[in-house]
């Protein structure tokens, strides 16, 4: 009986979870690194569940945040399943943990302690002409160019298929320095945006009348004649309450989406999304988005990536007054719109060869087309 209890208390999990972060196990700081998670099922029955991946980052000085990803899985009897997640590594992060659940029951847990590479890596596809940190075979090239962000050099010495070439060229345009996003400039621009401007035509006369009326009426309170000040106060309270309620429906956030594309060279485009929230709310974006973090004030800059309806979604908890700037690399059909001169905030917010770029406005999207 005691043996049975001991066995129950120390019963192992039914799944084994292994994690590997970074190319060749070298996660690079402030880059989107590959995170491979392998779930092994040593049992004779298939297991269905949900995998929860978490990593804390930051510090008491910078503020701390958490990255979380959830993905459903099915792993057959005596078999393995593997996931690849584009995982941003930040200062202060040293542990990534993956836990498998079926409902509330924990099926397995794995964790990886890591130290980060402060600088980017060099890689080669095919035999390298000079020493590199990582050697790719064409089959190893990821489908998402974002996973190549840990590299500052990527030499190609063998012929590639069109899709592989497309990924390398996306890295070349968006991640190797040809286009650079000046996050601080864009954040400053976002900080000045408001979802709906104040109704000054109502507000200014109203406030003027309020101050004038009450300033003149207040001495009556000292004369024992409080009727007028109290009447005026009641009227202005009612008006301001109506004003406050009428503004409930105003937009709760401003956002700007910038798409940088180079059709004919790569089918990928870089999307930068800036959000200036005005109320506390949760926002769900399609796709896997990563944030450009500021130097500090990381508190609450959590991101949740979840796999739902056969696609990834990014869930952001928006806080009023805290602009968020996110990016992703995606494949979208080229957009066309009205050609405009680049607004000053855009030309300062993106470092690129502006003489070879055209800016178009397609609805709410600014499209920067590189030649």
């Amino acid at each position: 009986m005691i043996l049975l209890l001991v066995l129950l208390a120390f019963r192992g999990f039914s799944l084994e979870i292994g994690l590997e972060l970074g190319w060749a196990g070298w996660p690079v700081l402030d880059a989107v690194n590959p995170l491979w998670i392998t779930i092994s099922n040593p049992d004779s029955a298939a297991v269905r569940g949900k995998l929860l991946v978490t990593m804390e980052f930051g510090s008491a000085w910078r503020g701390a945040g958490t990255y979380t990803a959830t993905v459903p899985f099915v792993v057959g009897a005596f078999s393995k399943t593997r996931f690849l997640l584009p995982w941003p590594v930040r200062a202060g992060s040293f542990l990534v943990r993956a836990t498998a659940f079926s409902g509330k029951e924990k099926l397995g847990e794995g964790e990886l302690r890591f130290s980060v590479e402060p600088g980017p890596l060099r890689a080669s596809v095919g035999p390298p002409p000079k020493p590199v940190d990582f050697l790719f075979s064409p089959a190893d090239l990821p489908a998402d160019p974002l996973l190549l962000s840990p590299f500052s050099e990527l030499q190609v010495s063998i012929p590639l298929r069109t899709s592989e070439k497309d990924v390398v060229q996306a890295w070349q345009v968006f991640l190797s320095g040809e286009v650079r996003v000046e996050a601080e400039v864009l954040r400053d621009y976002l900080a000045g945006l408001r979802p709906a401007s104040s109704r000054w035509l109502v507000l200014l006369p109203g406030l003027f009348l309020y101050v004038l009326g009450l300033t003149l009426a207040l001495p009556r309170l000292a004369q024992g004649r409080p009727q007028l000040p109290i009447f005026l106060l009641a009227v202005f309270l009612a008006f301001s309450l109506v004003y406050s309620v009428s503004r409930e429906s105003a937009n709760t956030k401003s956002s700007v989406l910038i798409r940088i594309e180079r059709p004919g060279f790569t089918s990928f485009c870089l999307e930068v999304l800036g959000i200036a929230p005005w109320v506390n709310e949760e926002m769900v974006l399609d796709g896997w988005w990563v944030e450009f973090l500021p130097g500090r004030e990381w508190q609450g800059r959590d991101l949740l990536w979840r796999f739902a309806s056969e696609a990834w979604q990014t869930v952001i908890r928006l806080e009023p007054g805290v602009p968020r700037l996110l990016f992703r690399i995606t494949q979208e059909a080229p957009l066309s719109g009205e050609v405009i001169l680049p607004p000053p905030w855009l030309s300062r917010g993106l470092s690129l060869s502006w003489s070879q770029a055209t800016v178009m406005r397609a609805g709410e999207i600014y499209v920067v087309r590189l030649q």
């Binding site: 900080a191 000045g192 408001r194 979802p195 104040s198 507000l203 406030l207 309020y210 101050v211 009450l214 300033t215 207040l218 001495p219 309170l221 000292a222 004369q223 024992g224 409080p226 109290i230 106060l233 202005f236 309270l237 008006f239 301001s240 309450l241 004003y243 406050s244 009428s246 503004r247 409930e248 105003a250 709760t252 200036a276 005005w278 109320v279 506390n280 806080e319 009023p320 007054g321 805290v322 602009p323």
Partner: protein, 200 residues
């Protein structure tokens, strides 16, 4: 319903509170930095309300001996008068900052407690310190210290950080909120003591 008569020497402080509060609202709404824009008016309001409350408490001390219940009714009226004068501005600010109604309610509750506390300080110091100069230093120095001291020590009990935190629905505002609620209870309790009838 009979409202207490506002002492003549308090008319100007109330007018000043109203004018400066409205100016503070406009300054906050026009402030270029988004985060400052969301909190500046609340900080200005807490500052102005604290100064006004100290003046009301002090003036009330000179009103003479009255029943404790009557004293309480008068101080409550003067406190809520300041709050109601600011309320239209707070309604507008709520609309312009998109703050939740729960934040609005907590902020007004905090302001009423804050007013009672500093009225108590003004009233108490008027009885304890005879010298005008020393009293001036104590009341306004103490108020400034209570506002800025916790900011330097990173304690969440200054009206400057409690009020914005309550406004945004953050838990960081709770310690200061409960502290001021407790202190306002102490302040009200002291006014209800019968000896304040004799001392005036």
């Amino acid at each position: 319903m009979k409202f207490p008569r506002l002492p003549e020497n308090l008319v100007t402080p109330y007018q000043g509170f109203l004018i400066l509060g409205t100016g503070g609202l406009l300054a906050a709404l026009l402030w270029p930095d988004l985060q400052t824009r969301r909190t500046l008016f609340l900080q200005i309001l807490a500052f102005l309300q604290g100064i006004l409350a100290i003046q009301v408490g002090e003036a009330e001390h000179g009103y003479g001996p009255i029943q404790p219940q009557l004293r309480l009714a008068r101080l409550a009226f003067f406190n809520f008068l300041a709050l109601f004068l600011a309320l239209p501005l707070v309604f507008v600010y709520r609309a312009e900052t998109g703050a939740p109604w729960s934040g609005f309610l907590l902020a007004t509750l905090f302001l009423s407690a804050h007013g009672f506390v500093w009225m108590g300080v003004g009233h108490g110091l008027a009885g304890l310190v005879r010298s005008d100069g020393v009293r001036f230093v104590f009341k306004y120095g103490g108020f400034i210290l209570a506002l800025f001291g916790p900011l330097f020590l990173a304690w969440p009990v200054s009206a400057f950080n409690v009020l914005p935190a309550l406004w945004e629905g953050k838990t960081g505002g709770w310690p200061g909120f409960f502290m001021y609620l407790g202190l306002s209870g102490v302040s009200l309790g002291l006014w209800m003591r019968p000896r304040s009838c004799q001392k005036g």
